[in-house]
Symmetry: C2
Subunit: 602 residues, 2 copies
């Protein structure tokens, strides 16, 4: 590729429509362009990187026996109606009608199509196990298309599906995929973590996500250094607290706590009006906060839900969302309080919750609230709270819910030590779907006894276009993109500087030699562009190895520069190809300026 | 690929949803499956063939300096509004709304996106010429999705666009594409023809189509053996007939011709009631037929159009459609006759047409109607015709129209000899668009004098998924598919027959050796399938070279069979790999049964 003809214009200014630093660089470096919100065009360099991700994914899927096929993106409604997803997806899918008024959607994932195709073609356990995959364009009408390619509305995914006759087969298929994904993400060349994931609205059981560790990630995950435990916050299961002895706790008593509708004001009022006998001050952790939300189910029906949790914790929006899916939740509004007059805003207590009357409000407790523990909490009356209210003695709940925030330093669910929190970008998801789709679409095969059994499935995804963006976010630096070798749009970027004809001729020869050695080259052969602009462009484009042909030529050398470290060294012209080849192949080379110690040309 | 595990089930029966023989075979052989009308899934073997077509197209586009990028399929309305195509496409595009009620379409072709992207990135003549392309999924909501993949509603196309500063540049880009297309279609390995094409609704000037010659094609084309002239029927320009001397023609006279609303009845009545003085019988060619149709313009307005042509010719639906595009035409209905009472159905004559009053009906003549020629035609009165009506003397028209059918044996427009007719499948289209899109979207660059000039464009398409279907139609035989080498899903199909363990072991070794030689292999290793079924499947799948490992093994030979010719020969086991390699590489080999004369292993 020659920059004199490559369809590329680099930008010095950040684009107005980009949020994240990696995304800004992808636009500035001419890899992608926005066509509409969440919808991108891939320019020549971006397409090269995208194809490299595809190739890596394809190779590793083939290596575990995956068979590639390709389903349409434009799909009829019926199969999605059969599994309920036509409705469940709500506004999140694009729906359209054809000229005959037939209903279609743009496929968000293809469980239905894979299931139906296997159903049509296979009928016996002897034909299983089977793994099918596709690398294909998918569509989701995201409410807030965010951060460029990270959460697009048109995007490329590898989705694969395993089909097995029993749970052991599914587990084996899942582990094969897990191993393949480790290879894929190792090859993509950036920092990632495998976390337990919530199975969410997809149904099914075991589920893990591969997250790119990145401060700009949408997902928060926890890690325990001691045990290696790692989970998406949605998937953290806080253990049920052990019962405590409540025999010494006085009887519950309602007290005046004027103007204390928040935890902070309640603590202040309690210290002032109802100090503890032992002199310890009250803390938020002594209070039980009751949060009421309104759920909307996929069929449109609504239902209130109350959550009781220690006053020093907030409800985590995403953890709650994962728990109530496929329903969606929203904060209680004034009209909701009006509909449930037994709830006293700011003073809600457990005694009005979970009852069958006057109106049932389901009441779920955070698992850290122990049987026998005593709390300060709302007394269901304006300006009053109840003290020494004991779980099990004075109030009960309908169950527990994993909805409270997880905090840095919380104990790991496996008991091994404290948790640390970080952010990540979801790059892959592996998932034991089980029999949900096979049951809905009636995918059965004959087992060895001639009996029809429902097939069990796994579903496995890699965000291919997202990977390009995630790698850009994870690997860029201040001055530009900084691609891992396997993803770079070229192996080497050759810059010819100056106005001397001989420089360009030499560079041309070098480029020919590099290409003859099987390397792909970006050659900055632009005649009237200053060296400074050329260097800046090379840094922006982010090819790992940069070769500068210029001033050194008089001494018979060219400069080889490592894009990431910035290390540069002069090497004799005759050895340049060998040195570059060694770098590309990851062989040991001299990194200092001492060219004489460089390895011999390959 | 092993048939014991390949996701493939061949069918013995023709699928109900397939029309054409090649398409039936693609479904029966497990290459594709219908997901919805005009929408197909690509199963593993089909996807391999599709990818091979893509690779050929990509290589040849790269070879002429084309730069690949990839635009979205889901596109915003605005650019298509700017060029008028949002409306012009009518029901032929899929439109949809996003959750914010924004208008989108699924891209049918991408002129707008390419034009806008070049406009944003380029500004000088120095940056041109430029050729960009993509291989991408496209959508058209066809009224009658026909013949499987030949005219799908979701399909894969290579579309490319050239950008030049002047007409000479456009012509050069067009010729580069033409040469690349010749290479592409030569490599696809089937009979094709390059024909002059009608530019149709796309606007623009020079235009040629690459047609796969096929009796099931939708397009009719003509050829002149003598000159090599070839054209789509829509593009045939019948020359204007030379004026003839009308001085001896008697004055026009209206005659009674009861019950003669058709050309046949008119000829019969004329012979009976108004025989010619010279005794020659009347023929349909002596009559002038006037056909009235109703045009509907893209803006919804309508307009009648009358066409006069010799009575022995029909109006060709497609030629007329090409002439009136972007308007659409429909036959005159009773309500239309009611609206134009001066038209006497069955007896329409030129004297009521082309007049400014009482209502203007535009009247166009077939160019074979010569100035000075005399006709029998309608007298605009029920049961009456007019005789000896002379063009120029007794009637005139508003112009000519190329709408009459072209017939086998008609003179070639270049005067070189008679035309022959055949049918073809449109595989590629190259097209000098000119400045239509650049003007609509304001794509201008500075020329060498610093003046803004509008860029001129070419548009070039290859139907990639259609090519798979067209090649299947063009190359299959009675017993199955029959792929050209470059497109076959594998180089060789190895069949192990019988129940003998040694046969399978030998076949396994052979497959290993073939793969180690760089060949791709389909290996029929199914243990309990009869040789007959295996042979049938091999013939159905259509890999060019079939190797049978079986009975011959006792004599130390395997059979190599050519799928197309059916020729078979026994070769010593030790030479099988070399023989197959030679076949795959197209080197001369013995084709008879005399194995001893076979060429040595490579």
């Amino acid at each position: 590729m020659r920059l004199s003809t490559l369809f590329l214009r680099t930008l010095r200014e950040d684009p107005a429509d980009a949020e994240l630093p990696g995304h800004k660089l992808l636009v500035r470096a001419g890899y992608v362009r926005r066509a509409a919100p969440g919808i991108y065009s891939w320019l020549p360099l971006g397409l090269k990187v995208l194809r490299k991700v595809e190739d890596i994914v394809r190779e590793e899927m083939d290596a575990i026996g995956g068979q590639e096929l390709s389903f349409p993106a434009l799909l009829p409604r019926e199969p999605y109606e059969a599994t309920g997803r036509w409705t469940e997806y709500g506004d999140n899918i694009f729906r359209l009608k054809d000229r005959k008024d037939g209903d279609y959607l743009l496929g968000p994932t293809h469980e239905e199509m894979f299931t139906l195709t296997v159903k049509d073609m296979y009928s016996s356990y002897k034909e299983l196990p089977l793994t099918l995959y596709q690398i294909q364009t998918k569509y989701r009408d995201e409410a807030r298309p965010r951060a460029g390619l990270l959460r697009g509305r048109e995007f490329i995914m590898k989705d694969s599906y395993s089909f097995d006759v029993d749970d052991a087969g599914l587990e084996a298929a899942y582990q094969r995929h897990r191993a393949a994904y480790v290879k894929i993400f190792d090859r993509l060349g950036f920092d990632y973590v495998i976390v337990y994931a919530d199975s969410g609205a997809m149904g099914g059981s075991a589920s893990e996500e591969f997250l790119a560790v990145s401060p700009v990630g949408e997902d928060t995950f926890v890690r325990c250094e001691a045990s290696g435990y790692a989970a998406n916050v949605e998937a953290v299961v806080v253990p049920q607290a052990q019962p405590v002895d409540a025999s010494a706790v006085p009887a519950a008593h309602v007290e005046d706590t004027p103007d204390s509708p928040t935890i902070d004001t309640l603590v202040t009022r309690s210290d002032a009006l109802h100090p503890r006998a032992d002199g310890r001050g009250w803390t938020a952790a002594d209070t039980l906060k009751n949060v009421v939300v309104m759920l909307t189910h996929p069929d449109g029906s609504t239902e209130p839900l109350a959550i009781g949790l220690p006053g020093d914790r907030e409800v985590d929006d995403k953890r709650l969302a994962a728990q109530v899916a496929p329903a969606e939740w929203a904060p209680f509004e004034e009209k909701d309080f009006a509909a449930y007059p037994m709830l006293t805003k700011g003073y809600i207590g457990p005694t009005m919750l979970g009852l069958e009357s006057p109106s049932k409000i389901r009441y779920l407790l955070d698992p850290s609230v122990a049987e026998g523990s005593a709390w300060v909490t709302g007394a269901d009356e304006h300006g009053k709270h109840v003290y020494d209210l004991v779980l099990g003695r004075d109030f009960t709940a309908d169950g527990t819910v994993q909805a409270a925030e997880i905090r840095e330093g919380d104990p790991s669910p496996d008991g091994a030590g404290p948790l640390t929190l970080a952010r990540g970008i979801e790059m892959g998801h592996i998932f034991q779907l089980g029999r949900k789709y096979a049951e809905a679409l009636d995918l059965k095969v004959l087992d060895e006894n001639g009996k029809l059994v429902t097939v069990t499935m796994g579903s496995y995804g890699v965000g291919v276009s997202r990977a390009v963006a995630a790698v850009a976010e994870a690997t860029h630096d201040e001055i530009g993109l900084c691609w891992p070798r396997e993803l770079a749009p070229a192996d080497v970027h050759v810059v010819a500087t100056g106005k001397d004809r001989a420089v360009f001729d030499h560079a041309e020869l070098l480029v020919g030699d590099l290409e003859a050695s099987g390397l792909s080259v970006i050659f900055d052969d632009r005649p009237k562009v200053s060296p400074g602009v050329k260097f800046k462009d090379a840094e922006l484009l982010g090819v790992p190895t940069i070769v500068v042909v210029g001033r050194g030529l008089e001494q018979g050398t060219v400069e080889i520069k490592d894009r990431r470290t910035g290390n540069r060294r002069e090497v004799p012209v005759g050895r340049a190809v060998g040195e570059v080849l060694a770098e590309v192949r990851g062989e040991a080379t001299s990194t200092g300026a001492d060219a004489t110690s460089a390895s011999a040309p390959a």
